[in-house]
């Protein structure tokens, strides 16, 4: 059974045709007793069929590459060039519903090896010279969440010290409970600074800087 509708595939094919530049790897890390791993792989495979620059690979969550990228939950979907971006642009849990659009936009940005932010935000972003991880808890039915996920991912594309990680809160309730997630998007930076809501880049980067300053 196909997960992506034919008319959506047609549209995506056109968009990929217009927007892809270099090769993009779509890595799906799977594990045992994983309810959504099969679906995650199937969706990634369907996307990869739409353009030859998109390469789908299935990996194991308990093997070396996952350890190298610091992954521990399956399924995790990583969008990467295999070098610069490593495993820093990722989705833990299924990127379904509204997050599917985030995934598609990420593929395009990673393929272009760039993302858009304003010069003021870029200047602040480039101050970060130590590892920062931004985790964005979402639900697939939240229309405000992709904004928060994409900001984390755009920051990760532009700065090699940043990791942007979407976490599907319904799939990982214990993880969500750890941070008392009751409204999404709920953003946790460096397992320390938290905020709730879809903020513009200008405010978002200030939270990231706040977490960074605390490390220094």
């Amino acid at each position: 059974m196909a997960y992506i509708r034919d008319e959506d595939k047609k549209y995506l094919k056109g968009e990929f045709e217009k927007n892809l530049k270099d090769e993009v790897k779509l890595l799906v890390f799977t594990g045992d007793n994983c309810q959504y791993c099969g679906v995650a792989s199937a969706i990634a495979a369907e996307i990869a069929e739409l353009n030859s620059l998109i390469k789908f690979e299935e990996q194991r969550i308990d093997e070396d590459l996952a350890r190298k990228y610091g992954l521990s939950h399956a399924p995790t979907v990583v969008i990467t060039d295999g070098e610069k971006y490593q495993g820093r642009i990722r989705y833990v849990g299924l990127p379904s519903g509204y997050e599917f659009s985030s995934l598609v936009e990420d593929i395009m940005d990673v393929s272009k090896r760039s993302a858009e932010v304003s010069p003021e935000v870029l200047e602040k972003l480039m101050r970060i010279d130590k590892p920062v991880i931004i985790q964005v808890f979402v639900t697939p039915t939240c229309p405000y969440c992709p904004g928060a996920v994409r900001t984390a991912h755009r920051f990760a594309i532009l700065n090699e010290n940043i990791t942007g990680e979407m976490v599907e809160a319904i799939e990982f309730p214990e993880w969500a409970n750890k941070w008392n997630v009751m409204s999404v998007p709920h953003i946790v930076i460096n397992e320390d600074i938290q905020f709730i809501g879809a903020y513009p880049d200008e405010q978002y980067i200030d939270y990231v800087l706040q977490a960074y300053e605390k490390m220094r």
Binding site: S96, G97, F100, P146, G147, V181, M182, S183, I196
Partner: protein, 316 residues
């Protein structure tokens, strides 16, 4: 599992158009289709995802041609239809609009658009209840979006404050996903459509009327609400794990006001029957005009606004 995939839209360059539509809800999308078909070059910019508040509607049962459809799916169909005609630039917030002779320069997060006309389809946002505890417990049990946050309360009891259509739909949705909602309505009667009233009664969802919620309380997260029974004046408490607030909407009309567009005392943009505002070639459509808050009316107003823009820009 829900595979209502939502597709992204591209569009990042600055350009010149006949009419710029601000807001990609039903009004803006409909305006886009009508404007482009009429022969105007148009584009839509939206600060978030196109779709507007309709996207949050768990279920829509009064849009012509659909006996029942998820707001998300209806909006997706609108969006795909509009994308056949024009560019929709999402997550591209308008920062400033400058009058430039006969034209307008619209500066956004991602570009600058020179346009002859503007359609404000900026919609509304959720109104706050303004009681103690509301801000304090935001994200700790207080929410304004059931489709976003409803799942976190499965198996738990929550208060839905406001028993109008939005509150009623929210309560029905919550019940459907396994939450125990209780509706609290300020007025002494059901404030939602009869159709929703019937579902609420059939599903045994408690609907309290004539009550005024005074406070949301708890320690680290929401534990209870305090309310007044307006008849008796008696103060009561109810233990709940969550509070969903649906007490009405406020218009997003500040950008329009800065441009000299007249609004009423609540901030809704004043329009005539052809959706023209007091400022030449500036129109408004949808919820920001204060009419009804219905998807079908927003779509109709969007069409009207586009046709007026066509008259003013192409036929003058």
């Amino acid at each position: 599992m829900n595979f209502g995939f939502v597709l992204p839209t591209a569009g990042k360059e600055s350009k010149e158009v006949d009419v710029l539509i601000i807001g990609g809800g039903p009004a803006g999308l409909s305006a886009g289709i009508y404007a482009t078909r009429a022969g105007l070059s148009a584009m839509i910019v939206d600060k978030g995802n196109a779709g507007g508040l309709a996207e949050e509607a768990p279920f829509v049962e009064n849009y012509l041609g659909f006996k029942g459809i998820k707001g998300e799916d209806l909006v997706k169909a609108f969006k795909e239809h509009a994308m056949e005609y024009l560019e929709i630039s999402e997550r591209n917030e308008v920062r400033e609009i400058i009058k430039d002779g006969e034209n307008y320069m619209v500066k956004t997060e991602r570009g600058e658009y020179k346009t002859k006309g503007i359609i404000f389809a900026t919609g509304t946002t959720h109104k706050k209840l303004n009681v103690p505890g509301e801000n304090e417990f935001l994200g700790k049990g207080v929410s304004y979006c059931v489709t976003c946050d409803g799942y976190f309360f499965r198996g738990k009891k929550v208060a839905v404050i406001g028993g109008g259509n939005s509150g009623a739909i929210a309560a029905i949705y919550l019940k459907d996903i396994g939450v125990e909602p209780v509706v609290l309505e300020y007025m002494p009667r059901y404030m939602c459509e009869k159709a929703y009233q019937k579902i609420i009664q059939e599903r045994d969802i408690p609907y309290y009327t004539n009550v005024e919620v005074r406070a949301i309380e708890g320690k680290d997260k929401v534990e209870k609400i305090v309310y007044l029974e307006r008849n008796s004046g008696e103060r009561k408490e109810m233990n709940v794990d969550g509070v969903f607030i649906y007490v009405g909407l406020i218009p997003i009309s500040e950008l329009a006001r800065k441009l000299g567009v007249e609004t009423d005392d609540k901030g809704y943009i004043k329009v005539d029957l052809s959706m023209r505002t007091n400022v030449p070639r500036v129109y408004a459509a949808g919820d920001v005009t204060g009419y009804a808050g219905q998807i079908i009316i927003a779509a109709g107003q969007g069409a009207m606004a586009a046709l007026s823009a066509y008259e003013d820009i192409m036929l003058r």
